[in-house]
């Protein structure tokens, strides 16, 4: 019965993931500024989520092993770490490809890149530890302790994040609904910082309902200032022109205008802002997350069962030979 269920689950997950892969190219609309590279997000985010989930599952089963001492729990912890490692590699690679296409750089020690790198190192260390201990009981117990101990230290990467996040590439405020980039509120003639760019609001000019801001942007690495003119319709509060930052696929937008005080709120908009507003994209995205999570649990089950069989065989051979 269990075998039948596993067989059915395998087929179902296979069809589901295939459907997600097809939808990724056919159902998803193409996004301005991202091109076809934007489609990789459908793979990248779920694999990153599964790599963290796998780490938690591995720590959970390690804890259960220490508590109950059943070898099955250790099989599950190992299986979770092994499949988690695969997903971590996938998330790193898809992220680096996307980063190169959109931001022109493969690797930047962005907080999330640092975290996933540490996660890769922890998995690698866990495998190194397992291979360095011969006695099976001791191996199980010590790797369970390491797995749990590492799980305690990982949350501290969150505290590190604000310290290195000035160089973040991840569009926190672009993809996550409900969270917004603050932007910068400056008066005419004043200087401000937007990310790592220095901006100067030169003037606000009103023509009819439309206000156009003249902004001087100096990019780190470029010697000359660049003049950008984002605009905003004050009657229906609509953002009109979204000029690109030079060499990047980020836009400069005018978010709010206060003509009486000659102030304006300027902000960065990443390509794909409001990506998930589109229901087709949202559904494909959720389907991908569900599919990859199911795939992970299926891999976990199969690998853990296999480890159990291997262990039983090894014991049998030991008993006879």
């Amino acid at each position: 019965m269990a075998q039948r269920m596993a067989q059915a689950a395998k087929l179902l997950i296979g069809v589901w993931i295939a459907g997600v892969a097809v939808a990724m190219f056919l159902v998803l609309p193409q996004y301005e500024g991202l091109g076809n590279a934007g489609r990789i997000i459908i793979m990248h985010v779920p694999t990153a989520w599964v790599s963290v989930l796998a780490f938690a599952v591995s720590a959970l089963f390690s804890g259960l092993y220490l508590w109950r001492g059943r070898t099955e729990d250790d099989d599950y912890a190992t299986a979770a770490a092994e499949s988690g490692f695969l997903f971590t590699v996938l998330a790193t690679v898809t992220g680096a490809i996307f980063s190169q296409v959109v931001w022109g750089i493969y690797w930047n020690w962005d907080p999330r890149q640092t975290s996933i790198f540490v996660l890769l190192l922890i998995y690698a260390a866990l495998f190194a530890l397992r291979s360095a201990i011969d006695d099976p009981t001791r191996r199980r117990q010590l790797s369970a302790v390491y797995s749990l101990f590492a799980f305690v230290t990982v949350p501290f990467l969150i505290f590190v994040a604000p310290r290195v996040s000035e160089s973040t590439l991840h569009p926190n405020c672009a993809f996550m609904q409900g969270s917004t980039c603050e932007g910068v509120d400056i008066g005419v003639g004043k200087l401000g910082l937007l990310g790592d760019r220095k901006i100067e609001l030169v003037s606000l000019i009103q023509t009819g309902d439309v206000v156009t801001a003249e902004v001087l942007v100096s990019e780190p690495g470029l010697s000359d200032d660049i003049r950008l003119t984002p605009s905003f319709n004050i009657v229906n509060q609509e953002i009109l022109d979204r000029p690109n930052f030079p060499g990047l696929r980020y836009h400069l937008i005018l978010q709010e205008v206060d003509l009486a005080n000659q102030r304006a709120r300027l902000n960065i908009e990443a390509p794909g802002t409001g990506l998930l507003d589109n229901s087709r994209t949202l559904l494909t995205f959720l389907a991908a997350i569900f599919g990859f999570t199911a795939l992970f649990f299926w891999m976990l089950y199969v690998r853990a069962t296999l480890l159990g069989v291997q262990w039983a065989l090894a014991r049998k051979q030991g008993a006879h030979g």
């Binding site: 190194a128 530890l129 302790v145 230290t153 501290f156 290195v164």
Partner: protein
Amino acid sequence: MQQPTAIRLPALLAAAWAIFIKDLRSELRTRYAINALVLFAASAAVAVSLGVGFIGVRRSAEYLLIQSTLLWIALLFAALNGLSRGFVYEEETRTIAALRLAAPPIAVYLGKFLFNLALLVLLDTVTCLLFIVMVRVEVGSPLAFILVLAAGGLCLATATTILAAIIARASFKSALFAVLAFPLLVPPLIIAIQSTALTLDNNALALALPGIRTLIAYAVATFVASLMLFRFVWEA
């Protein structure tokens, strides 16, 4: 688990102290860990001073960050060289069984932790003095500098003591120790490097305080986790 479940605290601390004193005595006889740590720190400081110790480097913010990074690299690798000694030594001289009979696991952990802490205080002092003299690190806010170093050293000790106990039971001990310890030390290392760079400038106590707090939180979390998990390492 053979020990009675309720061990009185004073007895526990006395046992931990006895183990600490024993380690200190045997260390002073062989001076293995002390030699390894101090010589490593000295070589690192000399190597660094050959490259960046000359007169005429401007004290920009980047240079302070580079100095603090080099200091922490020296501290980290010296620590990874010497701190596994406490448990590996017991395994090599086959005294683990005796220790297991003589004291409850938590007392063993606390004793070894104190010993590592003592080694780190020595290491911190020697490395910093050498860096101040040879690499011409000028410390703008001494109190903040000492606090960051103390908190960072505490993190190194809490995170690595239990790992030393783990690798003492495995093969390829010294290589494995660095492999296991590094990923766990990345968060405190980033914070310690950046906070130390701040303290090289003047009046940096208020700026460095959030970093020190995070380091202490990390040390407390890993210390408590070690206390809970050490029993399983010791029994394995």
